[in-house]
């Protein structure tokens, strides 16, 4: 085939082919540059290597009708000694927008100051915007130590 007997439509088809060839090549190389950048932007998921049980407090540290925030893995949790002299523990991350809750001795409730969300001492969301209850942990007293463990479901 020589260029002289090439019809204009052939020329057009060839041009079209080259445009697609070049265009897809450029787009593909751009994508190959973008892909690692996007992957880089998203941090790798962190597995919480903290054990399933943590020493939350010592016996006698909390007075009756008070609470304490302690660190459980990479999130805060709350231990409460109820007025009935019973220990209960929950995650301290409010189920609404993630603020850290606190125990209100005057209300005998768990309270989130960010949007006035309230939970009862079973962790149930009873007032305000929180959509879900706080996940409950198991509390075990061994000698002078109070251990908090993840419950099978949480």
């Amino acid at each position: 085939m020589t260029p002289t007997n090439e019809s204009p439509s052939d020329k057009e088809a060839r041009r079209h082919f080259l445009e697609i060839f070049l265009g897809t090549g450029i787009i593909a190389s751009l994508l190959s540059f973008l892909y690692p950048v996007i992957r880089y932007l998203i941090p790798p998921p962190q597995t919480d290597l903290g054990s399933n049980t943590v020493l939350a407090a010592k016996v006698g540290e909390l007075s009756v009708n008070s609470g304490k925030i302690f660190r459980f893995g990479d999130k805060p949790a709350i231990l409460i000694l109820t007025s009935g002299d019973k220990y209960v523990a929950f995650t301290a991350v409010c189920t609404h927008l993630g603020c850290t809750v606190q125990y209100r001795p005057d209300l005998r409730e768990i309270w989130c100051p960010c949007h006035n969300g309230k939970y009862n001492l079973q962790g149930r969301n009873i007032s305000g915007p929180p959509p879900k209850p706080l996940a409950e942990f198991t509390v075990n007293v061994k000698g002078a130590d109070i251990y908090v463990s993840r419950t099978a479901a949480s």
Binding site: I42, D74, P113, C114, P131
Partner: protein, 363 residues
Amino acid sequence: MSPGAQIRNWLDDRFGWDDLIAFLKHKTVPLHRYSYWYYLGGITLFLFSLQVVTGILLLLYYRPTPSDAFESVQYIMTQARFGWLIRSIHSWGANLMIFTAFAHMFSVAFLKSYRKPRELTWLSGMVLLFLVLGFGFSGYLLPWNTLAFFATTVGTSLVGQVPLVGHWLLIFLRGGQDVTGATLGRFFAFHVALLPGLATAFILVHLVLIQRFGMSVPPRVEPEWKAKPPEQREIRFFPNFLLRELMGWYLALGVLGSLAALKPWELGTKADPFASAPAGIKPEWYFMFMFETLKLLPAKMWFMTGESLGVIAFGIAALLWTLLPFFDHERQGRSGRWAAGVVVFALAYVVALTAYGYMVMAK
């Protein structure tokens, strides 16, 4: 020939210096009873350049890690000479700049300056407004104090409520599941590198467009303006308008200096991710109207949470507001009345909910 004239000749020889000066001399600004609204954009630009200067100065001492950030700002506030002044100017300046940017936007909206051919000027201005809000949100976290820590927790959780991409955005912003040192590092990078780069580019676009189209004459005063003799219709940009503008800048500097000197910006207490959130968590005032709206929505609406619906509604409202020039483009007639109504409503809504938010807080 004097050395000054020699340099001038050298420049003129290479890129037509005299043409540039002649161009500046020919630029004019319309003169009418709403002319003073023209100064707001320039004042915002001035405050932005102050932010750049004070921001660079703060960078010399600031360290963006959870163990050092609070202490380094404390050092700036208490040890570095005039550090308190630099940081207070940066914090107050940020707030003033956001205020003047909003005022500039509403003045443009009221005077209908966004109409053809200035649609792109409005669009670039809206991008700049979003960038400025991004500056505010990212800068707020940098001192790593308790209020900022929980405001960022709440703010990024709200971003997480966006349908489909919300969780992805939340991980991207926080650099993980929670607000941690990774978040601080990212917000620092956004605040000092990404956003300044984008803002500089969009400021250039905005200025080139303003240069290209000139200042608009509001439709309301156009007949009255046209009836005036030509020599009373406009003033020269250089030096007349620029000198007046400089007075505006000087006034802004005076307000800023007084605020910074008389009421230095507070630092608060260092953030502890494993402590309860304190009472009185609130966003910066310019996010208050959104914060308050979301608080007033019921927890559950339709099939989603109130927050999700609120976030979607604000997203749509922001998009429609950005596209305002494409809905109101009539040069003649009264068809622009509804647009004026929308602008009044938007302003009233923002002001009312902001005021309401602070009244609820004060209780």
